[in-house]
Symmetry: C2
Subunit: 201 residues, 2 copies
DNA sequence: CAATATACTGTATATAATTACAGTAATTAT
DNA sequence: ATAATTACTGTAATTATATACAGTATATTG
């Protein structure tokens, strides 16, 4: 799918905003008025261009007949197994997506990560649970974080964090603390857990 | 808010379905065609009646200008503390509601129940968690259920169920099984847990 | 360098859609 | 008993909207 131009993106945003605000898409005249066009035809031609690039579908003969394509209704990815090496949000890691509008949580969730293993059972995080991850950088010691250590992604409690020592604790007596020296090992805190979802009890 | 007639309810449903299917509300003509009216004015008058009862707002002069009122986007109640005696879904028990459209789960969730106490920590259900409850009657032994025993509502695992003996097990070594004789004690299985949500980790 | 894409103005028209007016008939509330 | 509500048909006017056609100008691609 080709990229939209800046102006086209503006128009797509306007359509989404209109739907959010009113519950239905704008007319050509609405678009023209909002963006200051003097002709509704300017909007028309933008819409055709955006349709050509696959971001919307125009239903001919229907008023306000603009249908957003699935790809752009802003979905939250659910990450299954993370392939070693690549970025977490790489396409091949995405198990499915959830429309952002269905997001139950007020928190800022950038993606859901499916939990593998039992290293966090003592805080009630089980295998196959989905944890909501926020990429925000304001995590603190004590938070449960998503960490990447040398290409391996793991969910642990952040216990200590300094220039030379980071301690990640599995919440399960059978496991030992992971102690990393960020100067010798590659360590990235990808985000912190802000929610948990268990789909099948 | 007054109740809708059967026909009006049909029309409101049609509007919701149309929005779901197309992304925008139907026209009067659409409604008339779908329901077999020979005049778009039949639809018009129904819409006015539904608006009068507060379920929709009609934006005059705008095509497809039908806005659903908040109240009818079908909300899932979140039940906090259950007052002894009354029904679970009584108004005073409802802590808040969540739009059904925001429901992440495919399961049939009739309400969310906020967990009190630590009797289920061994299966990862913690105080303040929300469990999604389905009122469906096809729960089985082994399921986690919401039970009401003599006016007290509790979440436990259903271990055994016969005419004269029902065993409910707290999933916490510090608690003992609850054994109830449905013939002498009042016992209602309100539903079974089909999901779990933890909003703050 | 020509073709295509982008980003518009300006006009016009067919059709889509709202909405008013005039009825009919059955049911329900006062 | 009478008024109001419900549930429509039928017609028609007005307005809202999509959309075609004719331009202008600049930027980008092959």
């Amino acid at each position: 799918m080709k990229n939209l131009t800046k102006r086209q993106e503006e128009i797509l945003d306007l359509i989404k905003t209109h739907i959010l605000d009113f519950g239905f898409p704008p007319t050509r005249a609405d678009i023209a008025k909002t963006l200051g066009f003097k002709s509704p035809n300017a909007a028309e031609q933008h819409l055709r261009a955006i349709e050509k690039k696959g971001f919307i579908k125009i239903l001919s003969g229907a008023s306000r007949g603009i249908v957003l394509s699935d790809s752009d209704c802003d979905e939250i990815p659910v990450i299954g197994l993370v392939a070693a090496g690549g970025p977490i949000l790489a396409q091949e890691n995405i198990e499915k997506t959830i429309p952002r509008s269905r997001n139950l949580f007020s928190n800022d969730i950038d993606y859901y990560l499916r939990v593998k293993g039992d290293s966090m059972v003592d805080v009630g995080i089980y295998e196959e649970d989905l944890i909501g991850v926020s990429k925000s950088k304001d995590f603190k010691v004590g938070n449960i974080v998503v960490a990447r250590i040398n290409d391996e992604v793991t969910v642990k409690t952040l216990i200590e964090m300094s220039q030379t020592k980071v301690v990640l604790r599995p919440e399960n007596q059978n496991y030992k603390d992971i102690i990393v020296n960020p100067e010798t090992d590659e360590l990235v805190i990808e985000g912190s857990c802000v929610a948990l979802v268990r789909e099948s009890i």
